[in-house]
């Protein structure tokens, strides 16, 4: 399951990045808090496929499907 599959209100821990993830994306996502072991909550899932809002610690980020589906959660 990936972060994009997380429904509104649900949360899960980051397990790993998909192997196709570019090195630079891994670095930046980790620095922003999307780090293996980190608890992420999907706070809002707007309609019509718009980027979803995820909460990491005290920060909310918006990720689109192309990025959120690179992050595997469990």
């Amino acid at each position: 399951m990936t972060l994009w599959d997380l429904t509104q209100g649900a949360s899960a821990k980051v397990s790993r990045f998909k192997s196709s993830t570019q090195g630079s994306y891994r670095t930046r996502l980790s620095e922003l808090g999307f780090h293996p072991g980190e608890q992420i909550a999907c706070v809002l899932s707007p309609s019509m496929g718009a980027p979803k809002l995820y909460r990491v610690n005290n920060t909310v980020y918006s990720l689109d499907d192309s990025i959120a589906s690179l992050i595997e959660v469990a």
Binding site: R28, E31, L44, P46, P51, L53, L63
Partner: protein, 617 residues
């Protein structure tokens, strides 16, 4: 004395993540005494300003970055600028601004800065911003504990209220280079260990519990709701559009009448003849040509600033992201493009909010194709000349209105088509920074920095782009005035140029008079109407209906009218847009490329439309 002052001069660098409140702190520290400069060889704007309190301190405001480990070319440039500053002996201290309401994230970055400061032996002070928000929520932050753990000064402050600034000043005077003994304890070369450290430090010393998130989530549920979100988006965009179209209009009229008043006061003092014509048409005309844009730039910068500071801009980007992604753009391209419907110039300035340089570049391609208000008089004239003022479907649809709507839609479609094609033609443009957008908390904007920014932007336009616009105005005036002292535009050098380029426009059924009008419309598209009026011998370009009648009577084919519409929809006939693009990209490359390619595109499209319409009629 001066020497002594110089030798005392010290520089302090401000660095922090976007949304940490760094620029607000910089504004607090320096007031109005700011200037923007580039580091040699580096195309990143670094604002600098003298301290209000301690005149010997010069603050340098570096662009907000999420990390000192760059993942894109532009980030690398911004970080390189910071590193170059660290190599400067005059640089005394570094201030790293962190948002205490989101301490862990701030500390991940602060640890990277600490590592770099150790490397360059520069003192570091951590400005723990937004403690006012913590106070309001009854939360605590252990600055002393964090300072001891990191062995650097940590000053709790509020850039918004100004609390803690005095303590920051004291910390700056007392700061010394961080001791190396902590290096191995605190700093880890491995990012994951760095992350763990930040987490532990935030847990130990940071505020406990949620800050702002609940309110933020509630507001997000409204602003990103399928219905309410869509409605509020349209309402806010309508207000933005009104601000540049309607609210700026009285100020634009005031600028025009002030220039006219000044001209009427000065002109009697100038000898009649060339000097007087030059003063009236080139000098005041040239100044008016760019001053008239200032109110729009000021108002739009202010409104976009309010949207950005309040946190709404990020939400608007989320709403627009998916539809614009199809065309290679990002959600943040929407506001610059919408502004371009009023005028490309404030639109180009608004594109600064697009953080990804590649997406910003694509947005620059789209803006000049958006149907700006200067095209309106040209469209109105041609439509009045060719389309009957009749209505269909019981008066519901007017043919003229339909034609106007179609040409507006055509411009927007061209803009999207160009970005879709260009973004797909280049692998570099396809791959980009990941779409990870921080949703800043909703906040009330701080007014003074917003007004200051709008003022600075307007000043930047007048002093930088204004020169180019003025120069081109004077050149076109000279070409239109000589050799016959302004007696007849048709017999001037400009007239000869029009005749010279006639073969270019002949295939679309246009004679040399249209060529001259197209040449002069480079100053501003609406000049086309006035010039054509002069060429047809109509005094007073306001006499719209008789000019449309004249064009009709001259037997210009319908195909040529349609071709002119299409030509003006695409061609980048605007010196002011080109000058602003040059200022914003710091190179003539993009404006020249765009001018040439859009001229060719416009010509080919006009030629095709001419043949299709002529074949059908």
């Amino acid at each position: 004395m001066f020497q002594a002052q110089l030798s005392n001069l010290t520089k302090v660098a401000l660095i922090g993540s976007p949304n940490s409140g760094k620029s607000l702190l910089f504004n607090r520290l320096t007031g109005l005494n700011q200037k923007v400069a580039n580091f040699p060889g580096i195309t990143v704007d670094i604002a600098s300003g003298r301290s209000l309190e301690q005149k010997h301190i010069e603050y340098l405001d570096f662009p907000g970055v999420y990390s000192l480990r760059a993942i894109s070319g532009e980030e690398q440039i911004a970080i390189q600028a910071f590193i170059s500053a660290l190599e400067d002996d005059l640089l005394d201290t570094v201030i790293c601004v962190v948002d205490t309401t989101r301490l862990e994230k701030g500390l991940i970055f602060a640890l990277q800065v600490l590592e770099t400061c150790l490397q360059y032996n520069k003192p570091l002070v951590i400005a723990a911003n937004m403690v006012d928000v913590l106070d309001q929520n009854g939360m605590k932050f252990d600055a002393e504990g964090l300072a001891q753990a990191l062995d650097v000064a940590v000053v709790p402050l509020s850039a918004k209220s100004g609390a803690g600034l005095q303590q920051l000043g004291e910390a700056l005077s007392a700061a010394s280079a961080p001791s190396k003994k902590f290096e191995s304890d605190i700093i880890a070369s491995d990012e994951s260990i760095n992350h763990l450290h930040a987490q532990q430090l935030a847990e130990q010393f940071g505020p406990k519990g949620d800050v702002l998130i609940d309110t933020q989530t509630r507001l997000d549920s409204f602003f990103l709701h399928s219905w309410f979100g869509g409605l509020s988006f349209f309402f806010i965009m309508y207000l933005l559009f009104q601000s540049i179209f309607t609210w700026a209009a009285p100020a634009m009229d005031a600028v025009e009448s002030s220039i006219q008043w000044l001209a009427s006061a000065v002109l009697p003092l100038v000898p009649v003849g060339v000097a007087s014509d030059f003063t009236s048409d080139a000098l005041f005309g040239g100044i008016g040509a760019f001053l008239v844009f200032v109110p729009q730039i000021f108002v739009l910068t202010l409104v976009v600033g309010i949207l950005e500071d309040s946190g709404y801009l990020a939400r608007a980007a989320v709403i627009c992201h998916k539809p614009l992604r199809v065309f290679g753009l990002t959600g943040k391209s929407f506001i610059p493009m919408l502004s371009g419907v009023a005028c490309a110039i404030p639109g180009v300035y608004a594109a600064r909010t697009v953080d990804s340089p590649r997406k910003r570049w694509l947005t620059y391609l789209a803006i000049p194709l958006m149907p700006c208000s200067a095209r309106l008089p040209v469209y109105s004239l041609i439509i009045a000349a060719f389309i009957p003022a009749q209505k269909a479907m019981g008066g519901l649809i007017g043919w003229q209105g339909l034609a106007m709507f179609s040409i507006y839609l055509f411009g927007i479609l061209c803009a999207l088509l160009v970005t879709a094609v260009v973004s797909r033609s280049n692998a570099e443009l396809r791959s980009d920074l990941p779409f990870v957008l921080e949703m800043p908390p909703y906040r009330l904007p701080s007014w003074r920095p917003l007004f200051r920014n709008a003022w600075n932007r307007s000043k930047h336009f007048v002093t930088k782009a204004g020169k180019v616009i003025f120069f081109v105005t004077v050149v076109i005036w000279v070409l239109g005035y000589f050799p016959n002292q302004g007696a007849s535009l048709g017999e001037s050098w400009l007239g000869s140029m029009g005749q010279w380029i006639e073969p270019i426009f002949e295939p679309i059924g246009l004679d040399w008079r249209y060529g001259v009008a197209i040449l002069t419309s480079f100053l501003a598209r609406e000049v086309f109407v006035g010039t054509l009026g002069t060429m047809f011998g109509i005094e007073g370009s306001e006499d719209f209906a008789s000019l449309a009648q004249q064009i009709q009577d001259s037997g210009l084919p319908l195909g040529s009218g349609a071709a002119l519409l299409v030509f003006f929809a695409i061609a980048l006939q605007c010196v002011s847009t080109l000058a602003v693009l040059q200022r914003e990209t710091k190179s003539w490359r993009l404006p020249i490329q765009l001018f040439i390619s859009y001229s060719i595109f416009a010509y080919i499209a006009a030629l095709s439309v001419f043949h299709v319409v002529e074949a059908l009629t």
